[in-house]
């Protein structure tokens, strides 16, 4: 089997480690590799969009899953598809749109695999009404530590393994295939309401007011402003556009995949360009360019879902030390925590331009699934010498409010903090110990969090 040493990082390009990478195995080769795993273990890897160390395995084996990329069946009547774990949401979207089918949960990028979407139980702008990815998964075909393949469903026998795999960060086995319930749509466009809020209170009250009327909702906030302007934001919310909503020129091809990418960041990007001044300016411009209020605008996929995908490889702009994304959720009622954390971030001078605040709806049955009812905030921050203490303080704040961090983004939590944030860990651990008693599935993340 072709194996080679690879230096791997997550999307944040921090903490590189070396693993043997098993490239493009078939099912039999993969099962053999899992059975033969040594003490350093095995972890599957998709497109490497987890920010931290979830898909790397120092000294062990990493399986590149992107060759498992077939869409096996589509039922255009019911919207049920069966796909390989390595199929990207980008590919799935392109192939399903002509059938009028839409992926029920999309994160900030389409460049993630179905396997990764399950392992992280990803969420999107519609979480408050439609939940996270695994809520829409009907079955998972899982290669477990014994080298056997089993099919698990959300409520049949093996439901506990299904829910331990949902959000389980690849540590229960390798997802080979999944059956997913898609949504039907009339177009690939969105009807969007944009509002500019003057500060955090204004933002939160508008979100509390009528968020549930919208399928999709997210707020970008200015992370550079302090004082009275703190938390000023651009709130964009909308629905999938119906045929009648579209202007005449779009009506002829309503399901056309329309997601332009304009440029790619070069491999060597002058890191000095990102500093407090330029990021403050960016925050100012981003806020100003939004209309104060605009209703019913028709937007395409990139405009509405993936504004960052307009530039490829954008993670390179953060320079050689890389960056991380800090994302937490705190329950409703912890609005003060949101305010305090925003104050700490803007006062620290940490530069961030991807700043998101959104409301989560109900969580699901997965013990390690991240979303739970409350406020989720995410910021992108480049690594600097001063960052570690700031984030440790933020962890403390989040913990005190009964909140938690998102493992797909995390790259620095301690085992203790993690345990306090995920009180259902023991349930998950029990299922995992039963299915993988030898501890075959390991990653840098599992080693760091002592899972």
């Amino acid at each position: 089997m072709p194996e080679k040493l690879g230096r791997l990082t997550g999307w944040g390009r921090t903490a590189p480690t070396i693993a043997r990478v098993l490239e493009h195995p078939d099912r039999a080769e993969l099962a053999t590799a899992v059975r033969a795993a040594d003490a350093r273990g095995v972890i599957p890897r998709g497109l490497g969009r987890s920010y931290g160390d979830a898909a790397q395995n120092a000294g062990g084996l990493v399986v590149d899953m992107t060759a498992f990329n077939q869409i096996h069946s589509v039922d255009t009547e019911t919207g049920i598809v069966t796909v390989d774990a390595g199929v990207s949401l980008d590919k799935l979207m392109r192939e399903m749109l002509p059938h009028g089918l839409w992926i029920p949960v999309l994160p900030g990028t389409r460049q993630v695999t179905v396997g990764g979407a399950i392992a992280a139980d990803i969420h999107g702008k519609n979480h408050h009404v439609e939940g996270s990815f695994c809520n829409h998964v009907l079955a998972i075909e899982l290669l477990t530590a014994d080298g056997e393949i089993r099919t698990v469903t959300p409520d049949g026998p093996g439901a506990d393994l299904f829910w331990a795999t949902a959000g389980g960060m690849g540590l229960t086995g390798v997802v080979l295939r999944a059956t997913v319930q898609l949504k039907s749509v009339e177009s690939a466009y969105f009807l969007v309401d944009t509002e500019r809020t003057k500060d955090l209170d204004d933002l939160m009250s508008r979100l509390m007011d009528n968020d549930d009327q919208y399928t999709y909702s997210v707020a970008w906030f200015d992370s550079a402003s302090t004082g009275a302007k703190m938390g000023r934001a651009v709130l964009t919310r909308g629905w999938s556009a119906k045929l009648d909503d579209l202007p005449a020129k779009l009506r002829s091809a309503p399901l056309k995949f329309n997601a332009p990418q304009l440029a790619t960041v070069p491999p060597v990007f002058p890191s000095g360009l990102l500093n407090k001044l330029t990021v403050s300016a960016f925050n100012e411009v981003w806020y100003r360019k939004a209309p104060k209020e605009r209703r019913g605008e028709v937007q395409n996929i990139t405009q509405f879902f993936h504004p960052l995908d307009i530039v490829g490889d954008w993670n390179r702009v953060y320079g050689p030390r890389g960056f991380l994304q800090y994302q937490y959720v705190v329950p409703y009622g912890a609005e003060d925590t949101v305010r305090k954390s925003m104050e700490m971030i803007s006062a620290s001078g940490a530069v961030s331009f991807l700043n998101v605040l959104k409301r989560f709806g109900a969580g699901n049955a997965a013990p390690l699934s991240f979303p739970s009812p409350g406020w989720t905030l995410a910021v992108d921050i480049p690594i600097t010498d001063r960052l570690a203490p700031l984030l440790d303080k933020l962890d403390q704040l989040v913990l005190e409010a009964g909140g938690r961090l998102y493992l797909a983004k995390d790259s620095r939590l301690t085992p203790d903090a993690f345990r306090s944030m995920y009180p259902r860990l023991a349930e998950w651990q029990k299922v995992r110990d039963a299915v993988d008693p030898r501890g075959v599935f390991n990653s840098d993340l599992s080693r760091r969090l002592m899972l």
């Binding site: 040493l5 903490a15 395995n57 120092a58 010498d385 570690a388 620095r412």
Partner: protein
């Protein structure tokens, strides 16, 4: 694992009573308590150091390590790794010796060569084997500006440090493809028990300052740093002074 912002979870200090070494552990522990293995000859000082780190919330174990028994070094390193990965290893042991005695007394010269050069090489090779297997990790090697250009006034010490400096810089290159970062730290005069009673040289530093520089270098994954940083410029001048003039300098 060393996390995205450079916090390690475990550390092996070879030279478990070294003041600079312990200052480095303190620096990491103050940010986040970690699992520490202190390797040194058993002594009260070692136990005190362990106690002090425990009081900071660290999990500490001690390991008998004698720099002058190179045949035991592989076993010592294996034991240090027996409780799991070691994220950061600090190679901090050494002797300053008596400069004049050292070049005239065979036994004293041998002690310095064994402790300052042979032992760092034997532990270095044993470490490299383990670190290659785990596919990640950082090593901090305490070198000295004395090794950068060896002077008449302490050339036995200086030559051992020159050797160790070259070895760890080379080891860093060899280990880079295996995911391991080696950082060579070159301090100047540092106020420690090793230099007690000696007249402080220019740019003298406290162990805490050297530790701060070493820890920042680990977080930044740097190959080579001077402590304090000004030494880099002083040494780049001194390195190029012709011998005829160099020998007349009061250093």
């Amino acid at each position: 694992m060393i996390d995205a912002v450079g916090n390690p979870q475990s550390l092996l200090l070879l030279g478990g009573t070294s003041e600079i070494g312990l200052a480095i552990v303190d620096r990491f522990a103050d940010q986040r308590p970690l699992r520490v293995v202190l390797a040194a000859r058993p002594s009260e000082r070692l136990d005190e150091a362990a106690e002090r780190l425990r009081a900071k919330g660290c999990t500490v174990s001690t390991l008998a390590f004698d720099a002058r028994k190179p045949e035991t070094h592989e076993e010592v390193v294996d034991k240090a790794f027996s409780d799991g990965d070691i994220d950061v290893t600090v190679v901090a042991f050494g002797v300053l010796g008596d400069a004049e005695r050292a070049w005239q007394d065979v036994e004293h010269a041998r002690e310095m060569a064994e402790v300052n050069f042979v032992a760092p090489v034997t532990v270095g090779v044993a470490l490299a084997n383990r670190l290659r297997q785990q596919g990640h990790g950082a090593v901090v090697a305490l070198s000295s500006v004395a090794g950068e250009r060896v002077r008449r006034s302490n050339f036995v010490y200086g030559s051992t440090k020159a050797g160790v400096d070259g070895f760890y810089l080379g080891l860093g290159e060899a280990l880079k493809p295996h995911g391991v970062q080696v950082t060579v730290v070159r301090p100047g005069f540092v106020h420690t028990k090793m230099t007690k009673g000696m007249k402080a040289a220019p740019l003298a530093a406290q162990p805490e300052q050297v530790a701060e520089i070493a820890v920042t270098a680990v977080r930044r994954r740097q190959d080579l740093v001077w402590a304090p940083g000004a030494w880099r410029f002083v040494m780049s001048v001194l390195r190029h002074i012709p011998r005829a003039i160099f020998r007349k300098l009061p250093i």
